[in-house]
């Protein structure tokens, strides 16, 4: 441990460490703005910054394939889905005063307490642990594909079934009022549904 500590100094950070810390600060700031801003669309756009920052951190950790998957899936599709969700639920444009619920102080206390406890534990546990980033990239597309299709084929296929189930589930959930029997609802329900149809 002392040898490791002697070869890596706290006061002589490498360029990768400096870049990691800077990008990490940007990511953390964007995440903070995401959870505290009162403009709902801005929260989604700051989430893009946070997720992109995490993709850059993956690149700095030499996990190239996961970085590009992160950009494709999170930044490319999840945030777009969230923006569509905000639009379809008629999120207010501009500042909405009731973006936070009443238990904000309790949430802040819980988050700060858990952050303090976890940072203390993590720093204490990994005080003398270094990642050696030299050599070939750990997560190049070739290495990832090789391990994924050699050792992880069965989870991969199970995951495809899960994605299919999620697809079918989303379609079933979002289909509007499938083949409702016209006699089943009360007579007032049909007239009450009409303004809802046009408000959608």
């Amino acid at each position: 441990m002392t040898l490791a500590a002697a070869s890596h100094g706290f006061l002589t950070p490498s360029g990768v460490e400096i870049a990691f810390v800077l990008v990490g600060i940007v990511t953390f700031g964007a995440a903070l703005i995401t959870v505290t801003t009162r403009q709902l669309v801005h929260a989604a756009l700051w989430l893009v910054v946070a997720l992109g920052g995490i993709a850059v951190e993956y690149l700095l950790l030499t996990a190239e394939f996961i970085a590009w998957v992160q950009v494709l899936i999170y930044v490319g599709s999840v945030v777009v889905l969230l923006l569509f969700g905000l639009m379809l639920t008629k999120a207010p444009i501009g500042r909405s005063p009731d973006a936070d619920s009443g238990n904000r102080r309790a949430a802040l206390a819980v988050a700060v307490a858990s952050a303090a406890a976890l940072v203390w534990v993590v720093v204490d546990a990994f005080r003398a642990t270094w990642i050696t980033l030299g050599g070939a990239a750990q997560g190049s597309t070739e290495a990832s594909g090789r391990t994924l299709f050699q050792y992880w084929v069965l989870p991969f296929e199970a995951l495809s079934v899960l994605l299919l189930a999620a697809l079918v589930g989303a379609i079933v959930l979002s289909r509007r009022n499938p083949e409702a029997p016209p006699a089943a609802p009360a007579p007032g329900a049909a007239t009450a549904r009409a303004p809802r149809e046009e408000q959608r």
């Binding site: 990691f20 953390f28 903070l32 899936i73 999840v78 936070d100 952050a115 940072v119 391990t147 009450a192």
Partner: protein, 124 residues
């Protein structure tokens, strides 16, 4: 690179997401916070995979699986939120109180908005 850097960043992102989940009122903002927490876990997985130099690359494979599961989760979650918004007219979590037990009105079984409730049953 010191391992504490990615670990501490993951802890901070996770706790940011935790605050968002607990404090946000809109359901879609809560889903964004859940995404932040999932990303913190992914960052931990990648960092420990690179540190351990795993020959199976278990951490990176699990990260890919987590990303796919998160994509499925966000699809289903948004479908549920849209359904709730369609039936109730709101996506605010603390207004969905049909299952809440208030100590005062045990006999007040009538929900505060009976009209959207019948619509919910009609569309279900």
């Amino acid at each position: 690179m010191h391992l504490a850097y990615p670990a501490v960043l993951a802890v901070l992102l996770f706790c940011t997401g935790l605050y968002g989940v607990l404090a946000r009122r809109n359901a879609i903002l809560m889903l964004m916070s859940v995404e932040l927490m999932l990303n913190a876990v992914n960052l931990n997985l990648v960092a420990f995979d690179v540190w351990l130099r795993d020959t199976l690359h278990a951490g990176q494979a699990l990260t890919l699986f987590t990303i796919a599961v998160a994509a499925a989760e966000i699809g289903i979650g948004l479908a549920i939120v849209l359904l709730v918004h369609r039936n109730r007219g709101t996506a605010d979590i603390d207004r969905l109180r049909d299952l809440a037990e208030t100590p005062g009105d045990a006999d007040a079984a009538v929900p505060p908005q009976p009209q959207p409730d019948t619509k919910a049953e009609a569309t279900a």
